[in-house]
């Protein structure tokens, strides 16, 4: 089902079933984005995802359809992550102590996404956000810029730098990773 009629029902009638349908539809994308932002910290990602949808519910009357509902959720999630991180004094730096991606690991689609999330700890937060939205969510550079509020040039820089760092830390999957088999 399209988002627009569901959003209209939430705004007009406070239809909680319609909002639950929106949450079920988008929870996977929002939680996956937050999982990468939090470098694989599932508890933090899920707490922020809950906060994201709570804020979305409270502000849904202010939603304007430019960019799409999911982009709007990503923007809320990014800000919610920043405030939760400050509240908990969370830092990706601390995660650098935990084990690296197992370089002898044979490619496994079930663990690859988790490995990428763990490798994200070597990136700065804007780099993580830009790479996640661009590759994981398939957004264009312009859409990422609109969602995160950065200029397009900055988004391209973050993606370029982030990819270089990830390439080094995901070398377990190189030099000729057989992805997608």
């Amino acid at each position: 089902m399209e988002d627009a009629p569901l959003i209209a029902r939430v705004v007009a009638d406070d239809d909680r079933h319609a909002f639950a349908t929106l949450v079920r539809k988008h929870q996977s994308a929002v939680r996956a984005f937050l999982l990468r932002l939090s470098c694989g910290d599932r508890a933090l990602a899920d707490d922020v995802a809950q906060e994201t949808f709570l804020r979305a519910y409270q502000r849904i009357a202010t939603y304007r359809s430019e960019g799409g509902f999911l982009s709007w959720l990503f923007a809320i999630a990014y800000r919610a992550f920043a405030s939760e991180k400050r509240k908990r004094h969370w830092s990706a730096e601390e995660l650098k102590e935990s084990p690296e991606v197992d370089r002898s690991r044979i490619f496994n689609p079930d663990t690859a996404a988790e490995d990428v999330a763990r490798a994200m700890r070597h990136l700065r937060e804007p780099e993580r956000a830009c790479i996640s939205l661009c590759y994981q969510s398939g957004m264009s550079h312009q859409e990422v810029a609109n969602t995160l509020g950065y200029p397009v040039g900055t988004v391209k820089t973050h993606i370029g730098r982030g990819k270089e760092k990830l390439r080094a830390h995901l070398s377990a999957y190189g030099p000729e990773p057989e992805v997608g088999r």
Binding site: A20, V23, R24, Q27, A49, L54, A113, G174
Partner: protein, 106 residues
């Protein structure tokens, strides 16, 4: 080289779907009914209206504000679904205006 770059980008784009696993159910339990939010907003507006009425009634020169602004403001704020912060700021400005007008009339 091109294949290698494509494979790397495929790796970055891997995102297996995450099961809901009670996520939506937990969230819906945390959402307060909208009626509660409306009730709080209405209570604040009524309280402000009564307070403003009391102030302007006590200051003779500000009485015209009672008819012209206070009731109109309360109704508009309710219909326009303004946030509590906006209501509070506007209410403070309104009371300040009433007091200023009363002072200048006097």
């Amino acid at each position: 080289m091109k294949d290698r770059e494509e494979n790397f980008e495929k790796l970055l784009s891997m995102s297996p779907p995450i099961d809901d696993d009670g996520f939506t159910e937990n969230l819906m339990l945390r959402i307060p009914p909208r009626r509660d939010i409306l009730r709080i907003r209405t209570t604040v507006l009524l309280a402000f209206t009564f307070a403003a009425c009391g102030i302007v009634a006590a200051i003779p020169g500000a009485r015209h504000f009672l008819a012209e602004f206070v009731s109109g403001f309360a109704l508009t704020a309710l219909l326009a679904n303004l946030s509590l912060l906006t209501i509070t700021v506007l209410a403070a400005l309104l009371i300040w205006g009433a007091v200023a007008a009363a002072t200048s009339d006097a």
